[in-house]
């Protein structure tokens, strides 16, 4: 390492996003004027990125080994004939019981399945690049499917932007935060003037409710879409019928 200690400190602070104003100025000036400094920043960027990849791969390896262990365990388990017969009978009785209870409570409708079958990510339009430059980093992560990184950036700029609210709520859905998606949409839907965008908002709100098994609330949202022609009219009609016949 040929750069001086102070410059190295600046680089680390840059990656930790903890540079003060004067330090930021110094950093920018070094980036502009020193090839050696630029090279050092690149090396540290590689080191930090690689360390995340390294730890993820370690975790991947650990979980894969565990799952292989579970696979072997389930194959090895000794089961006597009597035990097997007993378990088979018990399982049949349980299945009949569960299916009947489920059928009488909720006949013919699986909210999770309906959610999975109907949910598609809100697409990013190419015009976003020019009109929403501030959101660009968030949208880029969103487009890559990296929702964890996209969320904080989208949250930062989502106060007044209606379309951004749809990106943000979809990012919440993709990361399993259905409650946050619900509250974001509930907050923004009344502010939407555009009829088409509003329908998108209602659709995703309905799906977030469905994913949380809030079936009556979800039905209310789908009913709004089923009553009027427009995007999601057909899907909502099918869902409302399924929900009504449950």
């Amino acid at each position: 390492m040929s750069i001086i200690e102070k410059q190295f400190q600046l680089i680390i602070k840059h990656f930790d996003q903890s540079l003060s104003e004067p330090e930021l100025k110094e950093f920018d000036s070094l980036i502009e004027n020193s090839g050696e400094f630029r090279n050092e920043v690149k090396i540290m960027e590689d080191i930090i990125d690689s360390s995340a990849a390294f730890h993820r791969a370690e975790e991947f390896k650990y979980i894969k080994e565990k799952f292989t262990e579970f696979d072997l365990e389930s194959k090895r388990k000794p089961k006597s004939r009597i035990l097997r017969r007993y378990f088979a009978m018990a399982a049949s009785v349980t299945i009949i019981l569960v299916v009947s209870i489920f059928y009488f409570q909720n006949p013919g409708f699986d909210a999770q399945k309906a959610f999975i079958e109907n949910y598609e990510l809100f697409p990013v339009k190419s015009s976003v690049r020019n009109t929403q430059k501030k959101l660009f980093p968030g949208i880029e992560y969103y487009k890559q499917g990296n929702f964890q990184e996209a969320i904080p950036l989208l949250e930062q700029y989502s106060k007044d932007d209606i379309v951004n609210c749809l990106y943000l709520s979809n990012a919440y859905i993709e990361t399993g935060n259905f409650q946050k998606a619900e509250s974001t949409l509930n907050k923004f839907i009344p502010k939407i003037d555009d009829r088409i965008i509003k329908r998108y908002g209602i659709w995703y709100l309905g799906l977030s409710l469905l994913a949380q098994n809030k079936i009556e609330d979800a039905e209310g949202q789908f009913l709004l879409l089923a009553e009027e022609k427009g995007p999601f009219h057909k899907q909502s009609k099918v869902l409302v019928e399924a929900l009504k016949s449950r």
Partner: protein, 183 residues
């Protein structure tokens, strides 16, 4: 967050349905689907803390969606030029785990430098590995790291992290000049 065997078993029980969903939707191979399921498990573990974990009812839905997202990401990555971070991650899979679901052959990667960094990382002391893991991978804050690792204050933890990164950088430099990083 480290998962207990009990939690891992619970997630493992969702594997058959997630894998079959993904295979039906994308026509991908069984081992690709299983690897993507593990990626989704890692995401779930990273997203939720221990308290939240036992409260999530929609784990299966989360896993199915995330598997599918990983597949989409992999599919589109194959179609266009990869970004640097993808290159590193994919290179690492190929180099270290050697069971990558991704195809890395067609991309140009700064192999030598990355190979050096990964080699040095694998030889780093446990304490440094942990600090770097907690901060850059698990995105924990310095006060949290100080508490977990028993540092007196977050400032002490920050200095320790700085020393680890400096050590890492020096070892990468030495390694590139032909000196073993272990020494």
């Amino acid at each position: 967050m480290e998962l207990s065997d009990e939690h891992l078993r619970e997630l493992y029980s969702y594997r058959p349905s997630c894998v079959s969903y993904l295979r039906n939707k994308t026509n991908c191979e069984q081992d690709v689907a299983e690897n993507l399921f593990i990626e989704a498990v890692i995401d779930l573990v990273k997203t939720k803390n221990k308290e939240e974990f036992s409260q999530i009812r929609e784990k299966k839905t989360f896993l199915i969606r995330t598997c599918y997202n990983h597949w989409k990401r992999m599919y589109y990555a194959k179609k266009r030029d990869l970004k640097q971070e993808d290159n590193i991650a994919m290179y690492f899979y190929d180099y270290k785990v050697n069971r990558s679901p991704y195809d890395v052959d067609e991309y140009t990667i700064e192999e030598e430098r990355l190979s050096t960094i990964l080699n040095v990382l694998s030889h780093l002391g446990d304490k440094c590995k942990k600090i770097i893991r907690f901060f850059y991978y698990e995105k924990k804050s310095m006060p949290e790291i100080a508490e977990i690792m028993g540092f007196k204050t977050p400032v002490v933890a920050t200095s320790a992290k700085y020393r680890c990164l400096k050590q890492l950088r020096e070892k990468v430099g030495s390694y590139q000049q032909g000196i073993s990083p272990i020494n």
